[in-house]
């Protein structure tokens, strides 16, 4: 019975490892310039965890098999150093593994958060609010007008709380419900939340950033492939969270310019 159990453990371990090794469920194609490091990190994590998983299951199964017929009272071998030794070994082994992942992962993190955006990065602002994302482009003057939260009136489509009558920089701002960016052009995303916490998640772009109410956050990235992608809110924000999304279009520079012109007429 115990031997059967040991065999079952090994079979389950190997069967679960097969689809992972064969990359059956792979992440979306990466269309960003910084995403490779993230994908590598994910890969390394899976390898390290996978090997440890298989090793531990096989060792467990071997012990069950080896000692399954043992009579009560028979002496078993002790791990060198006893319990203390075992704990120390586990500590060192697991600690090294986690430490290694941390070191490899620093580069992936730093690429996104510890580098400055290029001077000519295109600024786009995104405001998250229950339950939609809205975007703002600075318009021909290149400047974002000030925000007045007390003027926010969604029934009048004044999403950001702009006051173009008194703020000249707001006059040419373009507010949209969809985001579009030119391909191969660095984008500087300015983020803030109108109410509670949300998150900006575009899987293909390897961008995943929480909005924290009260904080003005920035991200920069470059998209390398034209297409239409979904931006989903991935931080539970209320009863409409499941429906909170927007669409990101990565367009050629020409298509982007005409898109922006059209949006300007819809203000």
């Amino acid at each position: 019975m115990a031997k059967l159990f040991a065999v079952t453990i090994v079979v389950i371990a190997i069967l679960s490892a097969i689809p992972i090794v064969r990359n059956t469920w792979h992440p979306m194609e990466d269309i960003s310039t910084h995403g490779q490091a993230i994908d590598d990190q994910l890969s390394e994590t899976m390898w390290e965890a996978g090997i440890s998983f298989l090793a531990s299951q096989i060792i467990l199964a071997w012990f069950i098999w080896r000692f399954s017929g043992t009579k009560l009272g028979e002496k078993t071998k002790n791990f060198p150093g006893g319990a203390a030794g075992l704990v120390a070994a586990a500590f060192i082994l697991v600690g090294l593994e986690v430490f290694a992942l941390g070191i490899f992962g620093v580069k992936a993190w730093a690429n996104i958060y510890f580098t400055q955006p290029a001077a000519n990065a295109m600024p786009v602002q995104v405001q998250s609010g229950q339950f939609a994302f809205y975007f703002r482009y600075p318009g021909p003057d290149g400047k974002f007008g000030p925000l007045h939260p007390d003027l926010i009136n969604e029934a009048n489509q004044n999403i950001f709380g702009l006051d173009p009558d008194h703020d000249p920089e707001s006059k040419d701002d373009i507010v949209t419900a969809e985001m579009a960016i030119p391909v191969n052009r660095e984008v500087r995303l300015l983020m803030h939340a109108k109410d509670v916490s949300h998150s900006f998640y575009v899987p293909a772009l390897r961008i995943h950033q929480d909005f924290v109410p009260g904080l003005d956050l920035q991200l920069h990235f470059t998209a390398t492939k034209v297409g239409r992608y979904e931006i989903v809110c991935s931080q539970l924000c209320g009863l409409g969270h499941y429906n909170m999304r927007a669409y990101l279009s990565v367009l050629s520079q020409e298509d982007f310019d005409s898109w922006l012109k059209k949006q300007a007429t819809l203000q």
Partner: protein, 250 residues
């Protein structure tokens, strides 16, 4: 001779009997005089250029965006028809009404269709029932926002696609209750709760307030952007009265 006299007498008596019975039958049901209810009709106009209505982008809800593909939608804060007629103005008797608070017997529908409220503005009587319907393939969360601390209580209810109508009413007058959808930020409408008869102006700005007995009244016209205007109106028995309103665009 006797026979002839008898015959004549019997004829006269029968005639008298028939006539009296006929008279009695005619007196059987004496109805009261019919109420001389009348109506107030008129037109609401906007003077000047209406403010620009911004287009609404519903791309986050593809099912609703598809409904409006051929006819793009805009905000409806000021809707002006041909000849300057102002739509969605609620006209009601703010003074002089002494009849029941609930003067209408219909149960109007407040419909969520294409991620918009239809109608955009609805008149209601106190305690008049209305039905909230969701005819979209997506969930809505209807959220009326009456004055905080007032007799009408704020509520919000989720209504998934295909859910049964929500049947409810308002217990008190309020001009007006703003309604929004918690899931779709662009949805906006108003419920105007009054006592007695009311009318809502249509595409050409025309309105009709029915069921107004003769008397002196103050008529109020309310529009969501321009507020309220009043007029004194006298309604004579059986004769419809007319009242026109003009709002000025700022």
């Amino acid at each position: 001779m006797k026979k002839q006299l008898l015959f004549k007498a019997m004829l006269a008596l029968s005639a008298a009997l028939i006539l009296s019975v006929a008279w009695m039958v005619s007196q059987r049901s004496v109805k009261a005089a019919p109420p001389s209810e009348s109506s107030i009709t008129g037109t609401v106009k906007l003077e000047g250029t209406p403010p620009h209505q911004r287009p609404i982008d519903m791309s986050k809800e593809p099912a609703c965006a598809a409904v409006h593909k051929a006819n793009p939608v805009t905000t409806e804060n000021v809707v002006v028809g041909t000849d300057g007629g102002l739509k969605n103005v609620v006209v009601y008797l703010s003074e002089g009404w002494s009849g029941p608070e609930t003067a209408v017997s219909s149960t109007p529908n407040w419909e969520q269709h294409g991620c918009q409220y239809i109608p955009h503005v609805m008149g209601l009587d106190v305690n008049e029932h209305f039905k909230v319907i969701n005819s979209d393939p997506t969930s809505h969360n209807i959220h009326p926002m009456p004055k905080p601390g007032g007799p009408n209580h704020e509520w919000n209810k989720s209504q998934p696609a295909g859910a049964p109508p929500i049947d409810t009413s308002w217990p008190a007058e309020e001009v007006a209750i703003h309604v929004k959808c918690n899931i779709h930020p662009w949805m906006s409408g108003y419920m105007v709760v009054v006592k007695g008869p009311y009318g809502v102006s249509d595409d050409s700005g025309s309105f009709k307030v029915d069921g107004v007995p003769p008397g002196n009244y103050t008529l109020t016209a309310w529009q969501e952007t321009y507020g309220a205007q009043t007029q004194k109106v006298t309604v004579a028995a059986g004769k419809p009265a007319t009242a026109n309103f003009t709002f000025k665009a700022k």
